[in-house]
């Protein structure tokens, strides 16, 4: 098993440097999303982005607050919710981080949690940006 801290830093660095959507959003997941609205008639991708933004706008403050007050339960809830929605839009790295966070809280492994949370915050930003970029040619 990889040292989570190491791998986290590694990936965070990668993500930091990369601006390509491909590296943030999984192409396969994106393809599946497009299939749901092939001609773009329902504007699904845009609605998903908006929903993700709304969700993030609600969850990020909850996460910050949880960290400030050491409310692990609130942190786990944010991680759980983001875990599946990020997976849905193809933000696999974010989803993985969320799952890691959730597991750590469940198993009460506090050490290293901060780093994971930091990475999560970073990846949220990447995901939102990547989604916007993904939508740009169509908008």
């Amino acid at each position: 098993m990889l040292n989570p801290d190491h791998s986290l830093r590694d990936r965070a660095g990668l993500a930091d440097a990369g601006t390509s959507t491909d590296e943030v959003l999984d192409p396969q997941a994106l393809a599946r999303l497009r299939e749901l609205d092939p001609a773009g008639k329902t504007g699904l991708l845009e609605r998903v982005l908006r929903a993700f933004e709304v969700s993030v706008a609600r969850l990020v403050p909850q996460l910050e607050q949880g960290r400030a007050s050491g409310d692990l339960h609130a942190i786990a809830h944010v991680a759980h919710t983001l875990k599946s929605s990020s997976a849905s839009i193809g933000a696999l790295e974010l989803s993985r981080l969320c799952a890691d966070c959730e597991r750590r809280v469940r198993e009460a492994r506090i050490d290293g949690l901060d780093a994971v949370l930091d990475a999560m915050t970073l990846q949220i930003g990447h995901a939102v940006r990547a989604l916007k970029h993904e939508l740009a040619p169509r908008a």
Binding site: A29, R32, L33, E35, L36, D37, T42, L44, R47, V48, A51, F52, V54, S55, H77, H80, T81, K83, S84, S85, A87, S88, I89, A99, E102, R103
Partner: protein, 741 residues
């Protein structure tokens, strides 16, 4: 790749999915994916919203996210299950990939299945389809199960299961209901058997043991006393063995059914088929069946048996005068009395008699009703003919008591004919026929008695039969002729009409009416005979009209039953029209007795005949018991004084008194009066003096063939050469002979 195809071919509407997820992104994507696959998705972002929606709406399937803030998926699922109508709603719980705890909790909360969240939408759609299909199958199963339960309930039927290993009997709820118990009652075989009455229980247990021992099929009806109200029911039981893989009986499965109503209906049907509805006695069918069995037994055991045919005397008279209701009442009472004359058994007997014992034929003994006023007493074993005669005499004795019907005492007698097996016949048909012959012999000898069959009686019967069949052919063979006797008005010394009298020339012999008219009346042949006579008379009237200007009427004698026929008027009309003579050419004579016997039915005919000009004459007047009140209203024209009064005229003063009275009566009612059977001048003189001038009798002429009558007229009346013709120059009144009047 995944075109939007209807997910289910046999369902017209898109399946309705309630999708509950607090995460908008997932909600949006999942519902888009499901819509894409033909589902009708309704979204809810929380458990609370979902429950609110379900308050007045029913989806086909619910998809619940397990982890949600507020009411989570598990709690929502629990609450959904508690709602009425959602007990079997398919609920799919969405869980995380590595969340084993949620899976367990999902089932505990009543979820139908779980699904690990995935972006592989087709997997989710497939799972939903599967859930819907199984839910539908389950619904159908439950529907058919409840249908079956209802059908069993309607059929008063239930099922049971007996396991040999556990020696346990499992009764379905429906079975418990059949036995009158609530669904939760625990009841074993022993408890059930306690409900069966003692004797039947033992034989049923014996049967069950035998069937189990032979691994055969159980098929039986058992009487059961139900717990509440002690109602007795008939329960039909059917069970088949079930074998295990070694071919050994593992148990029995079967059904019970309350067949009480059917049994009662069966019994009623059998009773209706075998018993007379009026008297409740065995009917012809049952009687014949019993007699057949009695003969079999008698043949086997070598004893005699007797058939008594009982016919009421003059029953028709009761029916005719008092009405059919009174007749029925009388028959019922007669049946009751007859029943007391034998060891009458009312059992419905069908099938075999085995198992009832050596003397089982005793059960056959009964009185039955053959039909009408005919009854049969079957005595399955008699020592000799005196045994049978004793019963016959008891019957005749019992009939002596008057029967009170329609407000009056009726005296009914019976004629009984007896036939014995084997002496008088070997078969039911022979015995019935010969008892009938014997019974007719009793009738012929004056009724109200019993007689044993004797071969000579049959001979007489055969003679009668021959005569009857010969009479049938008499018309077509021209063997019948009419003879005519003149009616004479002695004052004017002329013929004023004739009476037609039927004669039968058979094999060159003239058979007098007394020998064949009663037979014709009995057999119904009198009707064609009378119709023939009417035609013949009309024909003769025409012939005489042409020959010597005959303008009077020919009187034809008709029995009362002919007056009851509605076509009599038409028939006369046709006859006179055919020969071109006026209606009054035909006059009808009915005897006073005949008229009074059936007055109500005859009167309408008399009126119609009178209207078309056919006159009615009352024959044999003074012998019946006419109601004088009726005479004043009846449309009649003539009274004929019976010959018995004429015969004694001038000998006994009483006869003169009757004749005087009749003549006076006729005159005051404005009727003609005719004296019959006038044979002497003295009789003629007396009658004339009493005021009766029209006469008939040997003094003038016997009945003659038509041609001879014509010659008689030419040689006697026209030249005024006869002892009874007073010379014209003499006194207006005829010579009165000496002697008391």
């Amino acid at each position: 790749m995944n075109p939007a195809v209807p997910i289910d071919d046999d369902r017209a509407e898109a399946p309705k999915v309630l999708l509950v997820d607090d995460d908008e992104v997932n909600l949006l994507l999942t519902s888009a994916a499901l819509r894409e696959r033909g589902f009708d998705v309704t979204e809810a972002t929380s458990g609370e919203t979902a429950l609110r929606l379900l308050g007045d709406w029913l989806p086909d399937v619910i998809v619940l996210d397990a982890i949600m803030p507020g009411l989570d998926g598990f709690q929502t699922c629990r609450e959904v299950r508690a709602m009425a109508g959602f007990e079997s709603m398919p609920v799919l719980m969405l869980t995380g990939l590595d969340d084993d705890a949620s899976i367990t909790r999902a089932y505990e909360a009543g979820a139908t299945d779980f699904f690990v969240k995935s972006t592989q939408w087709s997997l989710l759609a497939g799972r939903l389809q599967y859930l819907l299909r199984s839910s539908r199958t389950r619904q159908e199963l439950e529907r058919s199960k409840s249908k079956l339960a209802r059908a069993q309930d309607l059929a008063r039927m239930g099922s049971f299961d007996w396991r040999a290993s556990a020696k346990s009997l499992a009764l379905s709820v429906e079975t418990l209901r059949v036995f009158g118990f609530p669904p939760n009652k625990s009841l074993g075989f022993r408890g059930l058997m306690r409900m069966v009455p003692g004797g039947e229980r033992r034989s049923f247990l014996r049967l069950v043991r035998e069937i189990v021992a032979h691994s055969s099929v159980l098929y039986a009806d058992v009487t059961v006393k139900l717990p509440e109200g002690q109602r007795q029911r008939i329960i039909h039981v059917e069970a088949e063995p079930e074998f295990n893989e070694h071919g050994v009986v593992a148990g029995y499965t079967g059904i019970v059914q309350d067949v009480t109503d059917r049994r009662i209906a069966d019994q009623q049907i059998r009773h209706l088929a075998n018993f007379d509805t009026l008297t409740g006695l065995p009917n012809r069918r049952q009687l014949i069946w019993r007699t057949e069995r009695a003969l079999e037994q008698a043949r086997r055991l070598g004893h005699q048996c007797a058939v008594l045919l009982i016919d009421l005397d003059r029953f028709k008279l009761v029916n005719d005068t008092l009405g059919h209701a009174a007749g029925d009442e009388l028959l019922t009472e007669v049946a009751r009395r007859l029943r007391s004359c034998v060891r009458h058994s009312d059992m419905v007997l069908e099938g075999a008699l085995e198992g009832v014992g050596q003397r089982s034929h005793r059960l056959l003994e009964a009185v039955g009703r053959l039909g009408g006023d005919e009854f049969v007493a079957l005595l399955p074993e008699v020592a000799d003919e005196r045994d049978a005669e004793r019963v016959a005499n008891r019957i005749i004795d019992l009939m002596r008591e008057p029967i009170y019907v329609a407000g009056q005492d009726c005296f009914v007698t019976a004629s009984v004919g007896i036939a014995l097996y084997p002496r008088d016949g070997e078969t039911v048909a022979d015995l019935l026929r010969n008892s009938d012959v014997a019974m007719y012999a009793v009738k012929a000898q004056g009724r109200n008695a019993a007689t044993l069959y004797h071969p000579q009686l049959a001979g007489r019967g055969r003679q009668k039969l021959e005569l009857e069949s010969a009479l049938h052919k008499a018309i077509e063979r021209d063997e019948l002729v009419l003879h005519y006797q003149p009616k004479i008005d002695v004052r004017a010394a002329k013929m004023v009409g004739v009476e037609a009298l039927m004669r039968w020339e058979r094999n060159g012999q003239l058979i007098p009416p007394g020998d064949f008219i009663p037979l014709a009346e009995e057999s119904g042949l009198i009707i064609p005979l009378s119709e023939w006579a009417i035609r013949q008379a009309a024909r003769q009237a025409k012939a005489w009209q042409l020959s010597f200007g005959f303008a009077d009427s020919i009187a034809v004698n008709l029995p009362n039953q002919l007056f009851e026929r509605t076509d009599l008027v038409e028939h006369i009309h046709d006859a006179v029209s055919h020969y071109g003579v006026p209606h009054h050419s035909i006059e009808l004579e009915i005897t006073e007795t005949g008229l009074m016997k059936d007055l109500q039915n005859v009167i309408p005919s008399l009126h119609r005949l009178n209207e078309i000009g056919v006159e009615i004459s009352i024959d044999d007047f003074g012998t019946g018991y006419s109601s004088l009140a009726y005479l004043t209203t009846l449309p009649i024209s003539e009274l004929k004084v019976d010959r018995s009064f004429i015969r004694d005229l001038g000998i006994t003063p009483q006869s003169a008194a009757v004749a005087t009275a009749i003549i006076a009566l006729a005159r005051s009612l404005g009727l003609r009066v005719v004296a019959e059977g006038v044979e002497t001048l003295r009789q003629m003189d007396v009658l004339h003096r009493l005021g009766c001038s029209v006469m008939q009798g040997f003094l003038f002429s016997k009945p003659l063939p038509a041609a001879e009558l014509e010659r008689w007229l030419e040689s006697t009346v026209l030249p005024r050469k006869a002892p009874w013709i007073v010379p014209a120059d003499e006194d207006a009144g005829p010579q009165v002979a000496a002697g008391p009047v």
